[in-house]
Structures are given as C-alpha cells and as structure tokens.
C-alpha cells in the first residue's frame, strides 16, 4: 500500500518536474480566477465569461501560430498588424459587397502572403526575425490606415454567424478556435513537420547537417503565423461588426508574451500548445479583471508587464534549482 502510494507520489513529482512551467502558470491562472471572482461579482457572470472566451479565441489563435515561429527560435511581431490589415480588408470587401466566401478566402490569402513575406525575409534573406517582423509590422499598420483611416461597419450575415451565433450551445468562434488549436497542437506534437520545427529551433546547424530543410521549415512556420493572424482578424471583424485601422494596436506583443509565459523558450526548441493557451488565458483574465476594476488601459499594460517579468523570473529560479539539484 505504502509502496504504491510512494510510487504515485514519485510519478506526480516527476510530472511536476517535467512540466514545471505549465504547472506554475496554471497555478497562477487559478489564483487569478479566484482573485477575479472575489473582487467582482460579475467575474463569473456568463456575459463576462463569454467576453473572456471571445478574446481568448482570437488571441489564442494568433498565439498558436506565434508559438510555431518561437519554437523555431524566431519571433513574429507583425501578427497584430497583419490582423489590422485583415480587419480592414474585411471592411472594404463588405462595403464592396463581396460574398462571404470571397471575403474570408481573400483575407486568409492575405495572411498567408504576409507570413510568407516574413518567411522569405527571415529564412532566405537571413534578416534577424525581430527586425524583419518589426519592419513588416510598420508596413502593414500603414497599409491598414491607407485602406481606410476611418472605421467601416460590417454587415454580413455570415460574419454575424461567426461573431454571434452558437452551435450546440457553444459560440461559433470558439468552434473555430478549437479546430485551429487541435490542428496546430496536433501538427506541432505529432507530425514530422512539428518535429522539424522543434529540432531546427533547438539547433539550426545540427538540424541542417542532419538533413533537415531548415529554410523551408522556417518559411512554412512564418506562413502559419501569418495565416493565424489573419484568421484572428476575421474573427475580430466579425465580433465587432466593424473594421477600424487601429485594431490590435497596443497588443502587438500579447501573443509573444503569452507564449513566453506559457513556457516557450525564447532560444527556441521548447514549448507546448497547452502552456501557450494557459498563457493566453492568464493575459486575457488579467485584462478582464483590470477592466472589471475599471482601471485604464495603462494599468492593464503595467500589470501585464509585471506578470510577464514575474513568470520569467520564476522560471529562471526553477531552472536554476533544477540545475543545482
């Protein structure tokens, strides 16, 4: 009896040790939820929860793409600006009375193209990922304003379905989110491509010498990141029923921060979607609590920064202890 117990304890211990970043961030999330429900009676209100789930779905989709790039040792800062352009494209195409299929198809195509451009810059032209994607993010934000400096309202039945309808009691946008997450999580963890992303992020020159096509892997990962940004943009547009060119401004680093909090190594090679999603939830819940406390956006940013730094410091401390042990 006691041996099985100790064995169980050992299993639990090794699970905790192997997944410290996920576990510690999960504990943080629980704490935030408890704090949230204590602070405000509205926190667990269904309206508030669905608000959280909306944000969770578009930031989560973007972060999932971002994770691929970051596991590769890269970074994609342009996601929120690609999202901005996508939102504006939806608005313009709606005004021009495109059908929903064309609108969504072209928007996604734009995301793929934007990601592909990042891929070319980073993988082929060897521009530093941070610089390359800061560059494209400036460009895309400018494009968003050039498309239309003023908001455009969107009234499209299909977009409304995405934004507001429920399927089997669950919002359509959450369904989209689930599909994306399952596909990306699956690709990342179980397919040869996912493996290539991990190994190329762990050590690009070893991977290249071991026959991995690192350039192609990078191009595909950046393209996925662009695609998810555009998809998040479509959901954003559908949810707000309007397109404004500063969509996503101020949240450029949110997917990246979520990934980092969720345990993706900035040096690449490590990271799991579960961790990233918990990371996104932490960010979104934190934002929500701030809003419920009616603190302004500046406090939100301040708080997000503190959480990001604390979680990194915590992980650093844990890693140090692991090494010393």
């Amino acid at each position: 009896m006691s041996t099985t117990n100790s064995k169980k304890n050992q299993n639990l211990k090794s699970f905790l040790l192997a997944n410290t970043s996920e576990v510690s961030i999960f504990i943080l999330l629980i704490i935030l939820i408890v704090v949230g429900s204590l602070i405000s009676p509205f926190f667990l209100n269904s309206n508030n929860l669905s608000g959280i789930s909306v944000k969770f779905s578009y930031y989560g989709i973007a972060a999932a793409g971002c994770m691929m790039v970051m596991i590769l040792g890269g970074i994609d800062i342009s996601q929120m600006c690609v999202l901005g352009v996508t939102v504006m494209l939806c608005g313009v195409m709606d005004r021009a009375e495109f059908c929903a299929a064309a609108m969504i198809g072209l928007s996604l195509l734009f995301g793929i193209a934007a990601g592909f451009i990042n891929g070319i810059l980073v993988a082929k032209l060897k521009v530093m990922p941070m610089i390359a994607t800061i560059g494209t993010s400036f460009a895309w934000r400018a494009v968003a304003y050039l498309v239309s400096p003023t908001p455009i309202s969107i009234s499209n039945d299909f977009m409304d379905v995405i934004g507001y309808e429920k399927l089997l009691g669950i919002p359509v946008l959450l369904w989209i989110f689930f599909v994306v997450i399952v596909v990306i999580g699956f690709v990342s963890a179980f397919t040869p491509f996912g493996r290539k992303v991990h190994v190329a992020g762990s050590n690009a020159s070893t991977s290249y010498l071991s026959g991995i096509n690192v350039v192609r892997t990078k191009m595909i990962a950046y393209t996925i990141s662009g695609f998810t940004a555009a998809l998040a943009g479509i959901i954003w547009a559908a949810q707000l029923s309007s397109a404004y060119p500063n969509a996503g401004v101020g949240y450029d680093l949110l997917p990246i921060a979520s990934c980092v909090i969720g345990g993706v190594a900035l040096e690449g090679g490590k990271g799991s979607l579960v961790g990233v999603l918990i990371g996104v939830l932490v960010m979104v819940v934190l934002q929500n609590i701030m809003t419920l406390l009616s603190l302004g956006q500046y406090y939100q940013l301040l708080c997000q920064g503190v959480v990001l730094i604390l979680s990194l410091a915590l992980r650093g401390a844990i890693n140090k202890r692991k090494q010393r042990a």
């Binding site: 290539k196 190994v199 050590n203 070893t206 026959g211 090679g269």
Partner: protein, 509 residues
C-alpha cells in the same frame, strides 16, 4: 602509494588540499570521497575516463559547484562557500575546454577583463596596451597587436590568451581542461614551455587530459579517477602508461585493434577536381568497406573538404559522385547527400552533431524521422523502440532515452551521434574527429563501431588530428597541406615520418 604521498609532502609545500569530497547529482554519485593534494610548483595530471568525475571535481574547486561533503584547504586555510569570482580572486584559475574568450573584444581587453587599468573614470588605453604586450610576451604572443580582435585568432592563441589572463590575475593554481585537444604539435610545445616556466616560478598546475603521452611529458604526478573514486596516484617516474590505462578503465584493453585486411567493393564515392578558393584540385576515390584517412595539420583543409563532399559547404568546380549517381555543383545539400546514402559526423559534436537540449530519442531519429511516420504521424512507440535499441547496441550510458544529451559524457554523446547516422543506413560515412575529447575506453568502443561499419561494406572517409588514430584505422591515407593533396599512402607501406613529411608540405620528392 602512501610512501610516495608522504614523500611528496615532505618535499614540497602543499598549496591545495581537497579532502574527502563527495557530490551527488540526481541518479549519479559523481564524486565519492575523493581527495586531492597539489604541491607548490607541481604539475598534477588528473586523468580518467569521461564521466569519472574530473570535471565535477574541478567545478567544485572553481566554486561553480558546491560539494555535499568534504573540505578544501588552500594555502593551509579552509575555503568555504565561495563563488567562481572569489576563487579567481584568491588565485585559482580554470581554463575550460570550451574557452571563455570574448571573441568580439580585443586581446588586451580579454587579458585584462575585470581589471582594466584606469585613469580617473576612463580606461587608460595607453597603459592597457603596454601591460597587454608584457602579458602577451609571457605566453609567447608578444608580436600580436594588443588591439586585435580575439575572434580572429587561432584556437591555440586564444588558449594562450586565457593563460595570460590567469598570469595577470596572479594565479597560484591554473587548472587546464584538455588544453591540447585542438592544438598542433608545435603549439603543444609552446604550451609545455609556458607551463614549465610557470611552475619554475612556484605556480601549480592541474592538467586534465586524455592523452597519456602528455602526462609523461609534462606532469610530475598523475592521479586517476574512476566512477567518482580515487583509484590511484603515482609519481610519474614510478608508473607506466599501461598501468595508468588499466587504472582508468579497470580492465585490460586491447589497444592495437587495427582493422583486418579486407577486400574492398565497388567505388562508393568519387571526387574529381574539386576546388574552392582554398582547396586545390582534389581528386580521390573511396571504395565500399574501405577507410580513407585524410590527414593534415589544423587549417590544412581536411575538414573543409569533407564538408564540401557532404554538401554542407559549396565548392566552385569539380564533381562529387555519390552512391546514388552524380550530383553536380552547388546542388548538393546535406539533405540530398543523406538521401544518396552519405552520412556525416561533424567535428564539433556539441555545436553541429547534437541537439543538446533535446532527448536521446529525438537526437537518434533526427536524420531518419521519415522512417517513423505512419499516416503522416510520428509513431512514438516505434521511435522509442529504435532509440532504446541503439542505446543497448552501442552500450550508451544514459538514465533513459528521454534524458537530454546535454547531461551525457562526451563518449556517450558521440554514441548518440553514431546512432543518428546509422539510422540513415549510409553507404558512405564521413567521420570528422570521431573520438575528440573522448576517453580511452569509449574510444575503443567507437573503433569497434567503425569496424562494424566497414564489415558491412560502408565506405568511410575519416579525418582525425590524432596521427596514431588515423594510422590505426585507415587503409589508405591522403595527406593535405594548404588545401592541396601532398601524398597518398597505403597501409603498411609508409612510416610515420613519411606522413609528417607530407603534411608539412614536404619538399617535392
């Protein structure tokens, strides 16, 4: 043994004493009651197989690790709970195998990092230059400009710069971890001279090495560790090489297991007129089951040549014909070479051979992941089975196949690299420094693995900077000097002198 110990104690003033040091890591007792004494002016060789605990012991001395139990006395005073910076300040200086140089900074800044001469709040560059030249002279680098970037220097010179740094910090003890692993013979002689000068002035040196010739050349005393325990300590004059080897491995070693004469098969690899801006018109053929050794001094082009053949580097003219047929210029990539049946073991094991932060399993299947895919999905059970099999076949010492290769010893890491390339079923295998930084026991095992390859008809292109190894393994040796072939020697039809003559360019016979 105790007589010798008391003898040394009588003869010399003891500068360092480490008493009954123990240190455990999860799953391993890295050090078990290890003691070490070091006399003033003495060179102590610390030897043992990889994983014997040498590095751990030195990391404890440096202050990077803390021992679980045991005491350290330095100049008769106990040392407790100190940081690496404090160790340096007290006069204990460690030069790691992976040098700690700052490649972007100048020689002078590297030597004086941490104690740059100042004039008010500013760095006194004039003084720095003068001081640096003085320090450089101590290690025979007086003719280099102090403000040259260290990144531009050769490995040997970088190492000497580190030694100069230790001198400047008034080190009493310098620990050198495999200082000669990447040096040429002339460079080694320079290093020996500097060590002798240092000890003549009362400095003490602990040298960690795998080369036993070196122990007899430079050390006064040798101490052997095995599996984290002291197994013996001898004054050099009282010990033979065989005794040391036996103490290290704890078993008899059949050392000269030259490959038996074999019949070679068809031509497996053909290189014709390969040239780059450095390599000059190189041609050779390699047959199935044959080991062709490329031998030359550091910078002779052997490494570059193998990289060109593998497609890791571009070449300008010439052709490389791989087993799968002719592959032309610039189209060769490692991926295509692997498909054609050419596998590559790079000399920089940690930087280019392995994914250090990934598991044994992931490293093992790195080049062959497509063989483990079923319906677009990786079959983890097949993958685990494969990794486990290789661990057993090659007797790789690892807690589990999910262990990060980072925590394995050099020899076991190299076995993981071999498992990786063997998984691709190569017809041609390019080996660059297959036993660099690997202890004697693991070396013999690696030789066996190479032998097995030959028996299976794999053609092997070998580059090793250790001449005995090249001579032992190669059926044929091609010598290179300055990017050009200077000679070709068939087993049994040359002397060591012939090869040495050829690698320094020879005079045209």
């Amino acid at each position: 043994m105790s007589i010798i110990e008391s003898e040394t104690k009588d003869m010399q003033e003891i500068i360092l004493e480490m008493k009954n040091i123990s240190k455990a890591f999860p799953g391993v007792q890295a050090l078990n009651n290890v003691s070490l004494t070091l006399g003033k002016g003495e060179v102590l060789a610390l030897i043992g197989e990889n994983g014997a605990g040498k590095s751990t012991l030195m990391k404890i001395l440096s202050g990077a690790y803390r021992q679980d139990s045991g005491e350290i006395f330095f100049k008769g005073e106990p040392l407790k709970d100190y940081s690496p910076a404090q160790a340096i300040a007290k006069g204990i200086s460690i030069i790691y195998q992976e040098l700690n140089d700052l490649p972007e900074l100048t020689i002078a800044s590297n030597i004086f990092t941490g104690n740059l001469p100042r004039k008010g709040p500013f760095i006194d560059y004039k003084q720095l230059k003068l001081d640096s030249i003085e320090a450089q002279k101590l290690v025979g680098l007086g003719d280099l400009h102090p403000f040259e970037r260290v990144g531009e220097l050769k490995v040997a010179q970088k190492q000497l710069i580190e030694i100069a740094r230790s001198f400047v910090r008034d080190a009493d003890i310098i620990v050198m971890d495999e200082p000669t692993a990447t040096l040429t013979n002339t460079e080694i002689d320079v290093l020996y001279k500097i060590i002798r000068e240092f000890t003549a002035k009362g400095g003490s040196v602990i040298i960690i090495t795998h080369k036993l010739e070196e122990v007899f050349e430079i050390a006064n005393r040798a101490m052997v560790l095995r599996d984290g325990c002291n197994v013996g300590e001898w004054a050099i004059k009282d010990v033979t090489k065989d005794q040391l080897v036996q103490a290290m491995v704890g078993r008899e070693l059949n050392r000269d297991n030259a490959l038996a004469p074999r019949d070679f098969g068809q031509v497996a690899l053909k290189v014709e007129n390969l040239s780059t801006d450095f390599l000059k018109d190189i041609s050779f053929e390699l047959r199935e089951g044959e080991v062709l050794g490329l031998y030359g001094l550091v910078g002779s082009g052997c490494d570059v040549l193998t990289r060109c053949v593998y497609g890791a580097e571009k070449f300008d003219t010439g052709t490389v014909t791989l087993p799968g047929g002719c592959v032309g210029l610039s189209k060769v990539t490692p991926g295509k070479s692997l498909e054609a049946g050419v596998a590559f073991v790079p000399s920089e094991r940690k930087m280019e051979g392995l994914l250090l932060d990934q598991s044994v399993r992931i490293n093992t299947t790195l080049s062959s992941i497509k063989d483990f895919v079923k319906n677009f999905v990786i079959s983890f059970s097949k993958e685990r089975e494969n990794a486990q099999q290789w661990v057993e076949t090659l007797a790789t010492k690892t807690p589990t196949i999910e262990t990060e290769v980072n925590s394995l010893s050099g020899g076991n890491q190299q076995k993981v690299v071999f498992a990786k390339v063997m998984n691709t079923n190569p017809k041609v295998l390019i080996l660059n420094e297959p036993t660099r930084g690997i202890d004697v026991g693991a070396k013999a095992e690696i030789y066996h693995i190479i032998e097995d390859f030959c028996k299976k008809g794999v053609a092997i292109l070998l580059v090793s900077s250790e001449m005995p190894e090249t001579m032992l393994l190669s059926d044929r040796i091609i010598t290179l000097c300055d990017g050009a072939v200077t000679g070709e020697f068939v087993r049994g039809q040359y002397t060591q002198y012939d090869i040495l003559h050829a690698v320094i360019g020879g005079d045209e016979k």
